[in-house]
Symmetry: C2
Subunit: 175 residues, 2 copies
Amino acid sequence: MALGKDYATQECSIARALEIVGERWTLLVVRDALYGVRRYNDFLVHLGIPRAVLAARLQLLTTEGILEKRRYQESPPRDEYVVTDRGIALWPTLRSLGLWGREHFSETQLRAFRHAACGTELGPYGECPACGTVVPLPDVEMVPGPGLDPDPTNPVSRALLKPKRMLEPIETVPV
Amino acid sequence: MALGKDYATQECSIARALEIVGERWTLLVVRDALYGVRRYNDFLVHLGIPRAVLAARLQLLTTEGILEKRRYQESPPRDEYVVTDRGIALWPTLRSLGLWGREHFSETQLRAFRHAACGTELGPYGECPACGTVVPLPDVEMVPGPGLDPDPTNPVSRALLKPKRMLEPIETVPV
DNA sequence: ATCCTAGGTTCGTTCACTGAACCAAGATGT
DNA sequence: ACATCTTGGTTCAGTGAACGAACCTAGGAT
């Protein structure tokens, strides 16, 4: 976290983690990356984040090894940001944070996460109650919940209305 | 998060959660509260946080039902901030965030968490590998790890050097 | 009468976030 | 040939939050 002083005096790995992902917007960028968002403009329209801040966050997440900048076409040269294993490792944190937000501050469920192999909704720790194992993120399927706006204006939210695997790139359909 | 605009456009319980606990310092205050820190001055010296910011965070966490302001003596009137169930519910999030920070950005283990009943170190989801159950926070014992400064200057860090139960108030010994 | 403690508030400075404008390289349309 | 569009940014003035030092208050203690 970069507001003048950091948390350096904190002898604590939570503080270390927050130095990296504790700034405003950062965790939402990672969340979107786990959802399959990869491109600058998709982050931009989905998050409603100022362009300069997005550029700074993508830069920082890349240098910290949470995202990886990767050329996906040569002409014109275009890069996408793909989440790395280090970013995927943030999934339990984001999952439990979202669970907390839903249980304490939300009325309806916005998204559900299921074990793609058997369709069972995940338990609080990301485990499949039916299979009894913790489901790796590529095997998690995200499905829209009842509280989600059925007709969002931006194409990224529309792409995220369809059930999809986590990490799989989103398919934005131009109008 | 209160920087002009909020995350209101985000239809996501992660964003809701971050509106509450996503501001700078907030999660560290909650962490300290779970560790057993309860008093204004103890938060102050342990976190090195500006006084005004601490007052604002304690206020917000209280109105959001994460901490509870409670009079602990009448003369002179003194209040302490005790973490509520809603705050305790943030433990899985903080635990996984700390685990991520340690695994990816830290060399040594700073603190270990054990099942007080059997002494077994907790697994990644806060479960006791020996007992096979998720350990409720009052039954978790925090013990200092090898990476911790053995002779910190402030009394709160000194109090946290001793193994102790989570949530139990810290015992600061005046010099 | 003075000092100390706990828990704040006030205030000027600094710094990050915001939003709008601008920029650039390559593709595409006419 | 020229303008326009798309993608992925940078620049910049204005604003609001964080910082840290100083100050304040109520009640004990010396």
